[in-house]
């Protein structure tokens, strides 16, 4: 792995599978009486959140704490950021405090990249969502969830069909998932109204469709995306009702799915808009499990980036056995 996790596209298949296997071990921790491992004792992880987030920040915080790291939470509200401090000065402050990893969420696409490559900080940078660009740990936890359900006993996601449905335009989750799932061998179909596809989507390693009902019967995974109205400054569809009639997942559409197909949602979901309550609460829905898996995957990422004197897999020295 590289020193930073900025894009799901940076991960090779070996990297991604190492994260998934490590996450599998991390997940078994949840069943143990002491949910803590000593691997990152004495390391400091800073959660730098310029945008609101509950589940991602809490998930990273839980992951770092379960690995015994010290966690400093830094959110834009109630900090010097609201007084006009720049990203650079914030970064220099964190560097002076000795952060080993900075988990950053920012409203501007590319902010984590800037932080990682500007020379402001020496720590590892983990992208926890930047603008409408990427959210690599979400893609990893989604893949991990699919892998647990569809690739049991050492299988892979090769040839599995994943439908990602909804507001692709504003979704960093869709982009990261498209890149990572491609790396892992799955076939991704994006489904959205024409207005909600980003420019240049034809360059993505995916198929696209405007017709949800044609895609559903073949899918092994259906991932519903939230309509991000807070990012919408124009009308992308006539009414919410029309959107949910054409692109929402309801009980009737769910009955078209194959028996093994799972329904996912990165959260937060808007019940009644992109997904109805009976689907969200059905046996097919793994939405709650995604949250549990998120902690395991983020533990795996933090461990693989910070657990040694350099990230895993950058040299041949990663094997266990050179002595003790």
């Amino acid at each position: 792995m590289k020193r930073h996790l900025l894009s799901a596209g940076d991960l090779t298949r070996d990297d991604a599978e190492l994260v998934l296997r490590t996450a599998e071990e991390m997940r078994s921790l949840a069943d143990r009486p002491i949910k803590k491992l000593p691997a990152l004792r004495g390391r400091t992880v800073v959660n730098l959140f310029f945008e609101d987030s509950t589940r991602t920040r809490i998930s990273f915080e839980a992951a770092a704490k379960r690995l015994s790291a010290d966690v400093i939470n830094f959110s834009a509200k109630g900090s010097s950021l609201s007084k006009g401090e720049s990203l650079k000065d914030t970064a220099l402050t964190l560097e002076a405090m000795g952060a080993d990893a900075v988990v950053v969420r920012h409203g501007a696409s590319g902010a984590p990249h800037r932080l990682a490559h500007s020379g402001w900080v020496r720590s590892s940078v983990v992208n926890a969502g930047d603008g409408t660009h990427e959210h690599p740990t979400q893609a990893l936890l989604d893949s991990f969830t699919m892998w647990r359900h569809l690739a049991k006993d050492g299988g892979s996601l090769d040839g599995r069909r994943v439908a990602i449905v909804g507001d692709v335009l504003h979704s960093r989750v869709a982009r990261s998932n498209a890149l990572l799932l491609r790396t892992l061998g799955a076939e991704v179909t994006l489904v959205a109204p024409p207005t909600l596809f980003p420019v240049g989507v034809e360059g993505w390693p995916v198929e696209t469709s405007y017709d949800l009902d044609a895609v559903l019967p073949k899918a092994d995974v259906v991932m519903m995306l939230r309509v991000q109205r807070e990012r919408m400054n124009a009308s992308f569809f006539p009414t919410a009702r029309e959107y949910s009639r054409r692109y929402g997942l309801d009980g009737k559409r769910m009955r078209q799915l194959q028996d093994h197909t799972i329904v996912m949602h990165p959260g937060p979901m808007v019940r009644g808009m992109e997904i109805t309550a009976d689907v969200a609460d059905s046996d097919r829905s793994v939405i709650v499990e995604q949250v549990t898996n998120g902690v395991a995957v983020r533990m795996a990422v933090l461990y693989l980036l910070l657990g040694g004197n350099e990230p895993a897999g950058t040299t041949d020295g990663t094997t266990k056995g050179l002595s003790e």
Binding site: P38, G308, T319, G321, E324
Partner: protein, 207 residues
Amino acid sequence: MPAPETNAVPTAQPDVSGESSRTVLDARDITRALTRISHEILERNKGADDLVLLGIPSRGVPLAERIAERIASVEGYAVPVGSLDVTMYRDDLRLKPARALLPTQIPSGGIDGKTVVLIDDVLFSGRTIRAALDALNDLGRPRAVRLAVLVDRGHRELPIRADFVGKNLPTSLVERVKVRLLGVDDVDAVTIHTTGHTTATGAGATA
């Protein structure tokens, strides 16, 4: 990223680097040693009650399974077997790049109040076992912890000793002890390798 693999040397033949090897235990020796260890465990524990066998990956795990088979054939019932990865508890974690984790599988009955027998292939400095004791501490409170190893090669760096030993193997620090076991490797054998150079830092032993 390479898969976890204990030994980098592919075969046991002498090669151009001047390395020579000799076999100290062959398949039948290993079988006999494991049978004896199994009986010793039963004798010490006065039967198989409350026993839990935990192999330390990678080669401790097939050893634990084989010992469990023998115990089952003697006592007539199965004892719980699992594996315990100690990677994250190692004292040299920070000295190398982050390492891949190996499976930890704790039997469903847990380890509280049980007699846990840790099983590894080679006992060397004792640091792996120290890490294993720390890992056990986070998993529960066993009534007792014992240690069984196939080979004890000496050179302890911590006050740790094995309760059950397949073979005591006096070695020099420049030698490398290599254990190969069916299930992980293609053959059952314990070999000692001597390199022409003295650069080897006890590599190859998963003590």
